[in-house]
Symmetry: C2
DNA sequence: CTGGCTTTGTGAATGTGTGCACGAGTGCCT
DNA sequence: AGGCACTCGTGCACACATTCACAAAGCCAG
């Protein structure tokens, strides 16, 4: 049972939108924009303005009526709420296709999640260098987690190895896991797990395509009239 | 034949779980399991048994009371509902880190989403071979989409190129997009877009980590009221 | 054929998320 | 100073999702 240190709990739906706002606001700040209205942010984020206001209201009342929100201050507040005021080193388990891509993807470190290490169980992969990081053996996981103070683990192994990877991560002291393997992980309740499954995403798209085909097969859209809002 | 078969609409939440059930059921079938109860499936999928039953009830009543569900038949029904009775070729835009990983990841084709083509705007990448597919120039996109009857596009470009990629995909006739770029795409309403954003996922984990740690830290922060500036 | 056991399918209750609508501040203009 | 235009913050109603709880349905043993 979790201790009820339930201070302002932010709804999950909101938490998952805050990073999007944050990215947009950072871009706006970069572009020299000082203030932004909920309407403007909503437009850029592809959501409803009321939703933006409600989301932001969970952080406190940082807007100014009649004016909008001060971009820089909002960036600061969201970063603080998301815990992005300091780096969160991550360890990647699995140096296969995906692990390599993740390690090579520079955007990780830039966004506050430096790769503290990559490990694999396959000796032939150990020692190779990916994105500036040397692949180490998975047995070194506990040491990496401990010395680099890693809280977040990324599982980029094949499905069959994912549960083992999760077990090792948990044992090593990691408390959050981002899982790319197409497997439902079984972990202690206190561990936060998020799943990214390509096959699932594609199958959801497939569902909609199939549904579309079921009705009338309309020809290609005439105008490229894009619109995010109604 | 009436194509108007107004299929019972399946809730989004259910649609996103069906692929998970499907994978588990396929594994079970492989392992020689003939029947499974909602309880058993729920266990393997990490969800509530009532939820499983309700989800499956949207497909029709294919269970047998007192016994459970026939695995093979359920696999068939879910596949049918998700439109997985035939392949959906996909085209990948962007042959960078991620595009390479996606192309190299065999699980794509195996699961019914063969890579019909990979395109990039960078001439130096055109011609290289990834996962058995030759990278072609993005100008060839319309031709690939047309000849290979592609409905699904995958955007694996840097953020800055994503909107252009989306525009080109839509123009070429693609109706579903899986977007890995950290950008909110603007597309015609009829286009189905799903987003996979690593940074967002990590930031959500960060939020929870910060919260976990925050129990103690949340000391006095009162004086930090917003600087009353303009 | 009956009674007991199991498990589905679903109504109803509860919880979570969304969006409208509007009061309440704020700044600008006259 | 007063009025006006603008935009936030939020109560409320509605929609969607989850979970409970139980009757109906099927199987099996005797």
């Amino acid at each position: 049972m979790a201790p009820d240190r339930n201070r302002r709990r932010i709804p999950d739906a909101t938490v998952s939108r805050l990073p999007v706002y944050l990215r947009i606001l950072s871009e706006q700040a970069e572009a020299g924009v000082d203030n932004i209205s909920s309407e403007g942010l909503a437009e850029l984020a592809g959501v409803n303005a009321a939703k933006v206001r409600k989301d932001l209201s969970y952080l406190g009342s940082y807007g100014t009526r009649g004016v909008g929100y001060e971009v820089a201050y909002l960036v600061y507040q969201i970063r603080r709420e998301l815990g992005l005021t300091h780096d969160w080193p991550v360890v990647i388990v699995g140096a296969g296709n995906l692990g390599q891509a993740l390690a090579g993807y520079g955007g990780f470190g830039e966004r506050g999640f430096p790769v503290a290490g990559i490990v694999d169980i396959d000796d032939t992969k150990v020692g190779t260098v990916l994105g500036g990081t040397r692949v180490r053996h998975i047995d070194e996981l506990p040491q990496i987690v401990l010395t680099r103070r890693v809280n977040i683990g990324v599982i980029a192994t094949p499905g069959g190895a994912a549960q083992d990877a999760a077990d090792r991560l948990v044992k090593a002291g990691v408390t959050s896991i981002l899982n790319f393997a197409p497997v439902v992980l079984s972990v202690p309740r206190a561990i936060e797990v998020r799943k990214v499954d390509l096959a699932v995403e594609l199958q959801i798209l497939s569902y909609h395509e199939q549904r579309r085909a079921g009705g009338a097969i309309h020809a290609v859209q005439s105008g490229t009239g894009r619109s995010a809002t109604a």
